[in-house]
Amino acid sequence: MMPASAIFFYVIAAIILITAVLSVTSRKIFRSAIWLLFSLIGISGIYFWLDMNFLAAVQIIVYVGGIVVLIIFSVFLTQGSGQSLPYPSIGSMFFAALVCSVGLGFSIWSIAKYGYHDTANVVSSPGMKELGKQMLSVEQGGYALPFEAVSILLLAAMIASIVIALKKSA
């Protein structure tokens, strides 16, 4: 008999995979975005299950609150929600399914073949306080430099997207 938490993992994984499949096969682009939203919420559930509370919160804030909203806005600006996408040709669908199943089978085979040695010691996950301290620490093992680099990257991306979107069409 599996404990409830193990069943919880399999249920969440199944929900994520089903909504992801619906998201890449749905013919309505707006529905596709909503299925993606459910998939991303499920992934934050996986992070909660893994005891990574900070990462789960970041996942909800950035993906669900930011990227999906951005995608939905761009759907409204460029498509309108009503029209359906055309079906891909049977040949390309078959080719894609073949390539993906071969890749999936090979990856699962190599994962199953490789013996992972899980550490048995019980260590609780680092809390938010330790993560925050480590993120801004300049000592050995601190992440202050990548943090600053990534802030400059975000600033540059913001300026670049404003410049691209403001450009007058020739």
């Binding site: 994520i16 682009i29 596709s32 005891d51 970041v58 390539v99």
Partner: protein
């Protein structure tokens, strides 16, 4: 590694995230609309993040490298999505379409 996770081996999480990655790849192959392509890319990035966090949690529970790598991946994915959508909107203004085959000026 706590009580709750000891019932699920690491392999199951890896197989799950691999399946998610190949679902995103299927979307990359079959979709022709740029916004749906971006959605597939997001799915693939998320599956990689699950991998990083699971490795951190199961194999090196006293370190935090996987968490931070996943965090920086999320930030870079956000920057990538912002730029991609700015480019889509500019393309829509000039071509009145964001279909992949309509943006072919740089071919030949």
């Amino acid at each position: 590694m706590n009580e709750r996770m000891s019932h699920i081996p690491l392999q199951h999480i890896l197989i799950f995230s691999t399946a998610l990655f190949f679902i995103g790849m299927f979307g990359m192959f079959t979709r022709k609309n740029l916004i749906t392509l971006l959605m597939s890319v997001e799915l693939m990035l998320n599956s990689v993040n699950i991998n990083l966090v699971a490795f951190n949690k199961y194999l090196f529970p006293q370190q935090t490298g996987g968490i931070f790598l996943a965090l920086f991946t999320i930030i870079i994915a956000a920057a990538e999505a912002a730029i991609a959508i700015a480019i889509f909107i500019y393309l829509y203004r000039t071509h009145h379409s964001i279909h992949v085959d309509d943006a072919s000026e740089m071919k030949n």
